[in-house]
Amino acid sequence: MKEKLVDAEKAVELINDGDSITFSGVSMVRVPMSFIREIIKAGKKDLYLIDREPGIDFDILIAAKAVRKVRFAMVGFELFGLAPNFRKAAESKEIEWIEDTCGAITNALRAGASGMPFVVVKGILGTDLVEIHEKEGTWKVIKDPFSGEEILAVKAVNPDVAVIHVQKADRYGNASIEGSRFEDVYKAKGAKKLIITAEEIVDTDYFRKYPERNTIPYFYADAVIHMPKGAYPTACPNYYPPDYEEIRRYLAMCREGKVEEYIKEWIGGR
């Protein structure tokens, strides 16, 4: 096993302007926020963000002008309301966007992890999303070669980079997601480059003792970064809940037109 433990400044160099990126977590849970701060610090541009149900990650990167395009099944802050910067950028066409649906994007990521060029998915036919994606070249209605029935083929998604926040990792990249995994294991295994950020760096003996807990074995990882509270203000199961007050503060500042101030403070401090 090769040493993969680096600092964030080093790891962020793995990302190129224009890359497609996916992040771990959904909504306000296990989103790699500390690393997203590094992406903004490093001034990355023209990113293409892909995820199932993102929230503050997409919104803040859009506010920081790091984003060219987004693909998602839902972007928002649940009961706290719409994602203000995403909404503004989408409506004003500052960014490109394509709406997806959970069952397609998650299966596209799973197909990517499996090395399959595409996957067939039930449902979806009859909705207006089909035309959007056929135009985009991401979906195609085909005939099942066995039954002859119409079914939706979904092109696999293999993002350039996946950034996955986990509870425990060793310095070689063995990584353990505790609790809800969402599609993170597939994201990790399907991405061309994998960056792991971890609450704790543990000894490899931890995995020898509990091999079933090794959700992403070392050979997938390109970099491991020790980032305690690395999902904050989103939650990290078994470590901390979401900080709803901080997320509300972000939204309040956005609504007051002070998102740049928020980002400046966020990038500077901690």
């Binding site: 099944a73 649940e78 449902g123 979806i124 036919l125 909705t127 609790g179 969402f182 199961p237």
Partner: protein, 257 residues
């Protein structure tokens, strides 16, 4: 619109009427899933499981199977890890989707920014997709699940002409589909509907709500036949269950905006 009912000494909020109505859609042989931004469905699933549907399979967006109701605490994000407390298994959302593709007896709660008379829903955009007046958050699992589930329960806390439109601007989700083994229910802060060949069929109005009030707040006419019954309110025991799961009153959030 906030009709408070008295049960014993306690006031009943429309949220609680809706939770009870949602719970009544759940049978013990069902598998039910709730997604993000879903406090009412989450509470309804717990309520059903603790009353008439003890064997319902409870799945949620926190990837948790059957979270422990005695330790559960409703939180603002439906994916909050506290919604996985003492879970029996981590069940990835994809696995629930697999159940849907396998045609299992799956039920799902979904919202709709626009709902039409076929119970088609729009969660994508107001205006055109290319140049939306409002870019909504997106349909999440709507497009995928609405054609696959056996029970589709749509809900809105904003029963209004803006929500109940003649024709949705964008078909994010499919409602009634003739000949399909799929029951479509629409539960609002005023009433309960089933979707059928006739359109939306008014099944009950909430306590204190009139049929006229229900109809006046829709851009199309629902189908109304005979005397419309009143939606049952939760019992005192049921209210107690709901309140214990949601000490912070998160079930009222959608009504405050």
């Amino acid at each position: 619109m906030e009709n408070m009912e008295n049960v014993g000494t306690q006031k009943i909020h429309p949220a609680e009427i809706m939770i009870k109505a949602m719970a009544m859609e759940i049978a013990s042989d069902d598998i039910f899933l709730h997604g993000l931004a879903s406090p009412l469905p989450a509470l309804a699933m717990h309520l059903a499981k603790q009353t008439h549907a003890p064997d319902v399979v409870y799945l949620n967006v926190a990837d948790a199977l059957d979270p422990d109701p005695n330790e559960y605490k409703l939180c603002p994000s439906s994916a909050d890890p506290r919604h996985a407390v003492n879970t029996i298994a981590i069940v990835e959302l994809l696995e629930t989707f697999d159940l849907a593709m396998k045609g299992k007896q799956l039920g799902m709660f979904l919202g709709g920014a626009q709902i039409d008379s076929r119970a088609n829903t729009n969660l994508t955009c107001i205006g055109s997709y290319e140049s939306p007046k409002v870019k909504l958050p997106g349909g999440a699992a709507t497009a995928f699940l609405t054609p696959l589930v056996k029970k589709l329960v749509l809900w809105t806390t904003n029963h209004s002409k803006r929500v109940f439109v003649e024709k949705v601007d964008f078909i994010t989700g499919l409602g009634y589909e003739e000949g399909k083994d799929k029951e479509v229910t629409v539960i609002t802060n005023l009433a309960v509907f089933k979707a059928g060949k006739e359109g939306l069929i008014l099944k009950s109005v909430h306590p204190g709500v009139t049929v006229d009030e229900v109809i006046e707040n829709m851009s199309f006419k629902p189908y109304v036949e005979g005397e419309v019954p009143t939606t049952p309110a939760p019992t005192e025991d049921e209210l107690e269950l709901i309140r214990k799961l949601d000490l912070d009153g998160i079930r009222f959030s959608e009504f405050k905006r």
